[in-house]
């Protein structure tokens, strides 16, 4: 799914990376636990989270995420946006809750990551 599609479905604001909206993500992963993101996310994922600290950017970088969506209207501060810019990780922000954000994307055809526990 293209990021611009994600943006439309989630009624999201692009905090950084409007030049990357034509890029694709293969799967979605919704989680506030970075430990679990590291353990379960696989492929070019769209990371949806309510956490807005700099570890989210680091974690996204390490798993090579396609973009990050901050849910529940949470907004990261400037240093976090700057870190994402440096790593070229697009940032989106939606007022929707995590459950509804994931639900809308899933219904529109964005699957979960294929990797299973264990």
């Amino acid at each position: 799914m293209k990021l611009k599609e994600v943006q439309r479905i989630l009624e999201a604001e692009v905090l950084y990376g409007s030049e990357f909206l034509e890029e694709e993500v293969q799967a979605g992963f919704g989680c506030d636990l970075m430990s679990d993101v590291l353990a379960f996310a696989a492929g070019k994922v769209l990371l949806l989270t309510g956490l807005t600290n700099s570890h989210v950017i680091r974690t996204a970088e390490i798993i090579d995420a396609g973009a990050i969506v901050f849910v529940r209207g949470k907004r990261p501060d400037k240093t976090v946006v700057a870190a994402a810019r440096e790593k070229k990780i697009p940032l989106l922000c939606t007022h929707l809750l995590l459950y509804e954000s994931c639900g809308r994307l899933y219904r529109a055809g964005l699957p979960g990551p294929s990797r299973r526990r264990g």
């Binding site: 590291l38 956490l51 570890h55 390490i62």
Partner: protein, 146 residues
């Protein structure tokens, strides 16, 4: 020079409790692996192992070093720290076991997933630890087709 025997070693200092700098070492290692041209899956596995090992020093130890020994055949990530050590390594390896304090959990860590995740990413994992002194973790990733 015999290319197959070339070795690249990267070393980083890691400070306990330094959440601001946490992840920088793993990020650099990852960047070098990418530049060298390793397969993205290899970069990913090594990057995750390095990051989890680095976070463990930051969260659980006082100070340490994170290093990567890179050859055409394998990548070895070594995390060596001075810290409280791990009394029961088998228990620490279980998913969900964590002694991380609440403030660490608020940052999104401390789910007890790190060590099992390193194991999953690596072809070999060795942990040696002495209570009251520190821990040394070695994770090996074998490069297939060499």
């Amino acid at each position: 020079m015999d290319r197959a025997k070339e070795e690249l070693v990267l070393n980083f200092q890691v400070q306990g409790r330094d959440f601001q700098g946490a992840g920088v070492a793993a990020s650099q290692i990852r960047r070098v692996l990418k530049q060298v041209g390793f397969d993205p899956q290899v970069v990913r596995r090594a990057g995750i192992a390095a990051y989890e090992a680095e976070m463990n020093i930051v969260i659980h130890a006082y100070r340490g070093t994170l290093s990567a020994r890179i050859t055409a055949q394998e990548i070895e990530i070594v995390a060596e720290d001075e810290g409280p050590g791990i009394a029961d390594i088998e228990l620490a390896m279980q998913e969900g076991y964590s002694t991380a304090p609440p403030e660490v959990r608020e940052m999104g860590f401390g789910a007890g997933m790190g060590l099992p995740n390193i194991k999953r990413c690596a072809d070999g994992l060795e942990i040696a630890s002495e209570v009251g002194r520190g821990t040394t973790l070695r994770a090996r990733i074998v490069i297939k087709g060499t």
